[in-house]
C-alpha cells in the first residue's frame, strides 16, 4: 500500500465543489508535484492533507493511518507557505526551534537540532537575526528548516518559490530537491509553474477544475498529454483543430492535433512550404512563427549560430516528425 493515499476526497465551499472524489497515491520518499492553474484545487488539497481545511468526506491515509479525524498538530506533517509565515517576533533560531518547544524538547537538544536544521539550509550564521533582516530566499530557507526540524513524516510545499525572483528561485528549488533526496522525505509540492514541476518531480499530478487530469513522470506528461487541457498547459504545443490539421498534412484528420514546437524543423527546400512571420530569441532557442498552408505554427529551433537565422518574411520549408503528432480529445 502507498505511503500516502487519498481516497474519494470531497470538498465544497458554499455549495460549489472544489474537488470531487479525488484519488491519489504517493510512495515513500517520492517527490510529487500538484501542478495546475490557479483555482484548480491544488492548494486546497494540500491544506486538506495538512488538516488546515476540513474535508467533507473521504479518507487521507498516511502510512496506513487515517488523518481526517486528527487535528493538524497531531498529523506529523511539515508545511512551507508561499508567504514564508515566519514568526516576526522571534529570531531565526527561535523560529526553527518553535516546533521543538511545542514538543517540549528542552535546552541543549533543542538548540543542537535547530542548529542542525539551519546547517541543512546553509543559514547557521543567521541564527540570531530576525526575519525582517533576511531576504525572501533566506526567509524561505528558514521556513524550510523550521518545517524539517520536527522530522515530519510528510512535507508539504505550497508554492514556496512563487514570491522569489528568478535566480533565487532556481537555486532554492535545487536546494529543496537535494535536501529532500538526502532525507528521503516524502514531499508534496504545489505549483502552477510547469518548469518547476518538470525539473523537480518524480511524479506530477496535473490538476484542472478539481480533477487530476493526468499523472505520470515529467517525460510522460511532456510528450504524451492526454487531453486538450494537458497539451495546452504543459509545453508550448501547437494545437490545431481537425480542419487546419487536415489542410496542413493534406490528409483527413478527425481529431485535434498537438504538435510540439521542437518537433518541426525548418529547411530551405522541401515539400511543405511556409513563410516566417516573426521570430523571438529565447536564449538557447529561437522561436519562429511560421505560416504554412494558412496555418500558423510555432517552431522552436536550437540557436546554433547567427548564420542559421531565418529572417522574417523568408520562405522556408517545414518538416514535421510524424511520430511527434498527437491526437488529443
Amino acid at each position: 500500500m502507498s505511503f500516502v493515499s487519498v481516497q474519494k476526497l470531497q470538498k465544497s465551499y458554499a455549495g460549489s465543489a472544489v474537488f470531487n472524489d479525488i484519488d491519489c497515491q504517493v510512495e515513500r520518499g517520492e517527490f510529487v508535484t500538484l501542478l495546475g492553474p490557479s483555482g484548480c484545487g491544488k492548494s486546497t488539497l494540500l491544506r486538506c492533507i495538512a488538516g488546515l481545511t476540513p474535508v467533507d468526506s473521504g479518507r487521507i491515509l498516511l502510512d496506513g493511518q487515517d488523518l481526517v479525524p486528527l487535528s493538524p498538530q497531531k498529523r506529523g506533517i511539515g508545511m512551507v507557505f508561499q508567504s514564508y509565515a515566519l514568526f516576526p517576533n522571534m529570531t531565526v533560531e527561535q523560529n526553527v526551534a518553535f516546533g521543538l518547544r511545542m514538543q517540549k524538547v528542552k535546552g541543549e537538544e533543542s538548540q543542537a537540532r535547530a542548529r542542525e536544521a539551519l546547517q541543512l539550509v546553509e543559514l547557521q550564521d543567521f541564527a540570531t537575526r530576525y526575519p525582517h533582516q533576511l531576504s525572501g530566499g533566506q526567509c524561505q530557507r528558514v521556513a524550510l528548516a523550521r518545517s524539517l526540524v520536527t522530522r515530519p513524516r510528510l512535507l508539504l510545499l505550497d508554492e514556496p518559490l512563487s514570491a522569489l525572483d528568478a535566480r533565487i528561485r532556481k537555486h532554492l528549488r535545487e536546494q529543496i530537491r537535494e535536501i529532500q533526496r538526502e532525507l528521503g522525505l516524502t514531499t508534496l509540492f504545489v505549483t502552477h509553474d510547469q518548469e518547476e514541476a518538470l525539473t523537480l518531480s518524480d511524479r506530477i499530478f496535473l490538476m484542472n477544475q478539481g480533477r487530476i487530469v493526468q499523472s505520470g513522470d515529467a517525460e510522460t506528461l511532456y510528450t504524451a498529454p492526454v487531453d486538450l487541457f494537458a497539451a495546452g498547459f504543459i509545453g508550448n504545443y501547437n494545437l490545431l483543430d481537425a480542419d487546419s490539421a487536415s489542410r496542413l498534412l493534406q490528409r483527413p484528420v478527425s481529431a485535434r492535433l498537438a504538435i510540439r514546437p521542437e518537433s518541426i524543423t525548418l529547411r530551405l527546400d522541401g515539400e511543405l512550404e511556409g513563410q516566417v512571420r516573426s521570430h523571438s530569441l529565447l536564449g538557447n532557442v529561437i522561436r519562429y512563427r511560421v505560416e504554412a498552408r494558412g496555418v500558423e505554427l510555432v517552431v522552436d529551433v536550437l540557436n546554433r549560430s547567427s548564420a542559421d537565422l531565418h529572417p522574417d518574411g523568408q520562405r522556408v520549408s517545414l518538416s514535421i516528425d510524424p511520430t511527434a503528432l498527437r491526437e488529443v480529445a
Partner: protein
C-alpha cells in the same frame, strides 16, 4: 530620501516651523502664565513663581480627581483589551466577512453626539436594576464604547500587516494549540498596534468632559470635571492644571514610544 536644495528646502522648512510655532504658541503662553505671579496689564509677566503648581499638587481634591481619572481610563482600557482582542481575533481568523459589519458598528459611538447619547444613558441606567449613574462604573462602560473605534482600527491594521492566517496555520502545524499560537505568535506581533491604540484612546479619554460631567459630575470627579468646577478660581492655577495635564500625557507618549521601538 530626496535631497532638498536651495529655495525649495527653505520653503519646506518655513512651512514646518510656522506650523510648529502656531501649535506651540498657545501652549507656551499657558506655560508662561502658569509660572507668573501676575500678568495682566503688562507685555510680560511681572514675576516668576512656582506657587500655582505647589498649590495644585497639594490640593487633595485635585489629586483625587487625577487618580479617579486614571482609574476610570485604565478600567475602560482594560475592559477594551480583554473584550476587543479576542473579538478581533475571532473576526479575522474565523469570520473575515464580519469585518465589514464591525466597521459600521464601531463608528456608532462617534455617529451619535455625546450629549444625545448621555441623555439615553441617563434614561437607561438612571434607575432600575442597572442603576449606575453617578458611579464610575457607567463611565468605564461608556468610555469602553469610545475607545472601541480606536482600538479596533489600530489593531485591525496591525493584524492585516502580519498575515494572521498563515501564522496561525504554521504554528498549529508545528504543534501549537490555538491558545499557544495566539499567545506566543500572534499577540507579540500585535504589540505595536495595541500600544498605539491604547495611547490614542488614553489621551482621548483622559481629556473627556461631556460624558464625565453629565453622567457622573461631582459625585466621582474626574480631571476635566474638576477643571470645569475650578473655572472661577485663579487663571494661573488653571493654567498650571492644564500644563500639568499636558505634561503627563507627553511623558506617557514618550514612554510608550520607547516601549514601541523595534528590536534589532
Amino acid at each position: 530620501m530626496r535631497a532638498e536644495t536651495g529655495s525649495g528646502s527653505l520653503y519646506h522648512r518655513l512651512v514646518v516651523y510656522t506650523l510648529f510655532v502656531l501649535l506651540l504658541l498657545p501652549l507656551a503662553g499657558t506655560l508662561l502664565y502658569s509660572v507668573s505671579t501676575s500678568w495682566s496689564a503688562s507685555l510680560l509677566p511681572s514675576g516668576l513663581t512656582l506657587k500655582w503648581y505647589l498649590a495644585l499638587w497639594t490640593d487633595a481634591r485635585f489629586l483625587a480627581a487625577f487618580g479617579q481619572s486614571l482609574l476610570v481610563c485604565f478600567g475602560a482600557l482594560l475592559l477594551s483589551v480583554v473584550l476587543i482582542l479576542p473579538l478581533l481575533f475571532v473576526v479575522h481568523y474565523h469570520f473575515p466577512r464580519l469585518d465589514a459589519l464591525m466597521n459600521v458598528l464601531i463608528l456608532l459611538p462617534f455617529a451619535v453626539p455625546p450629549v444625545v447619547s448621555s441623555v439615553g444613558l441617563l434614561q437607561l441606567y438612571g434607575s432600575g436594576p442597572m442603576a449606575m449613574v453617578g458611579t464610575p462604573w457607567i463611565l468605564i462602560g461608556c468610555y469602553f464604547t469610545i475607545a472601541l473605534p480606536f482600538m479596533y482600527r489600530a489593531i485591525t491594521n496591525n493584524l492585516q500587516a502580519i498575515n494572521l492566517r498563515d501564522l496561525m496555520d504554521a504554528a498549529q502545524l508545528l504543534g501549537a494549540n490555538t491558545w499557544q499560537a495566539a499567545f506566543l505568535v500572534v499577540l507579540p506581533n500585535l504589540r505595536k498596534g495595541l500600544l498605539v491604540a491604547l495611547l490614542l484612546s488614553f489621551s482621548f479619554l483622559f481629556g473627556e468632559f461631556v460624558f464625565a460631567n453629565l453622567l457622573v459630575g461631582t459625585r466621582y470627579e474626574t480631571l476635566q470635571v474638576y477643571l470645569n468646577n475650578m473655572r472661577n478660581s485663579s487663571g494661573h492655577f488653571n493654567s498650571a492644571l492644564v500644563i500639568s495635564y499636558f505634561f503627563f500625557v507627553l511623558v506617557l507618549t514618550w514612554v510608550a514610544n520607547r516601549l514601541n521601538k523595534d528590536k534589532s
